[in-house]
Point group: C2
Chain length 229, copies 2
């Protein structure tokens, strides 16, 4: 798995030249996932697009899980550079870039859940995040935990706002809030606090993202200030 992700495969000397490349296969899979959703990515479907038979793919990829891992790392790509920013500005830009990446490929929210091998691009993202906190007074574990909180929040908001192609996410944002409001109007007495909170008009777009990032960064700033005092 890690060998595939990091490109640690020596090219074979004998035998016919491979007609495809691993990245080519992954790019085809990404194209399908972008337009039709992650559920539409099957070995058969990817093979049809290349076009090649399904079993030919297994010469390049041990299984579907590995293909998803490769296409995920390829899709997130390298993190953008933002030189000359303070740690707070850099972390904010990092989080917004990550949010944009999740919006560009919403299926990443589904394919990158749980413990899994880290690919080179994901490692680069982690490196960029940690780099913003070097010299802040936080130790390495705290630096990693900080960007974990940030990325977790970005994921949370992206999952709520993203629209998945292919109907994996059956409800649109409006349908969701509408059905939620309807249920809660009928059961408002059972959930008084929640019903009251839902009565206040929601703010602008992506308010939840900015709100959480501001709170997290405020909390980090408090800790960093205490460390440097």
């Amino acid at each position: 798995m890690t060998e595939l992700l990091w490109g640690r495969q020596q090219p074979p000397s004998r035998g016919p030249k491979p007609a495809m490349t691993l990245t080519g296969i992954a790019e085809a899979a990404i194209r399908i996932a972008d337009t039709e959703g992650l559920d539409a990515v099957s070995m058969q479907r990817v093979a049809d697009d290349l076009p090649v038979t399904k079993m030919a793919l297994y010469r390049y990829v041990p299984g579907k899980a590995e293909l998803v891992a490769v296409m995920s790392d390829l899709a997130i790509g390298e993190p953008p550079e933002h030189p000359g920013l303070s740690w707070r500005e850099a972390l904010l830009a990092w989080a917004m870039d990550l949010f944009e990446g999740f919006n560009r490929h919403p299926w990443l929210l589904l394919s990158t859940v749980g413990r899994r091998p880290v690919g080179p691009n994901e490692a680069a993202w982690l490196d960029r995040g940690v780099r913003a906190l070097t010299g802040s007074g936080l130790n390495g574990t705290e630096q990693l935990d900080s960007i974990l909180v940030l990325s977790g929040h970005v994921r949370t908001i992206a999952l709520q706002t993203a629209t998945m192609p292919g109907g994996r996410q059956g409800l649109t944002e409006e349908a969701f809030t509408a059905s939620f409001a309807g249920i809660l109007a009928a059961e408002a007495d059972r959930f008084p606090s929640l019903a009251a909170a839902l009565r206040t008009p929601s703010g602008q777009e992506n308010q939840g993202l900015a709100f959480g990032l501001d709170r997290i960064l405020d909390g980090l700033e408090l800790l960093i200030s205490a460390r440097n005092a």
Copy 2:
């Protein structure tokens, strides 16, 4: 879907008495998911455990997605009560309870991703969370966004630490960090900040959970203090 979740189904008058109940089916599915993982929950598998034929289940549930929704809401259960706490203590307890719930049923981390209909128990959790912030000076949207940040962080940490039965999560925590460290040792020059951060010894268990919760709650306290000033 919502009708099922909220028990809005009038019992039929004519015909034979149903031999099963929706909750009985969901409990069987929960038992399977707890011991063998979410992937082991198939219509056939649930039917075999009851025991009944697969198609009999479709008399109670329109499809598998609905079954998963029902079993998820049933598994998370009602939130524990913690009377007489400050808003910060109450939110902390709420987050820890949620973390415990995710640890009791790790498959909830997989079955409750993305926009989906809210069940009665999940609504109760939201209500308890929001209740802690009533009277804090935050408006309804901010209250909801606050518990969203907290629950998102709990999810993030639970996903990293939880061990899924059935091998859905192929890597143990040790195997993951070991492979990660191995890769990064070989490519330390490409990711210097990340490599440096990983060199510091990791702290005690669940440090990431406490770290993030402290930062988020600190940030919230800052905002609440500003509002009340």
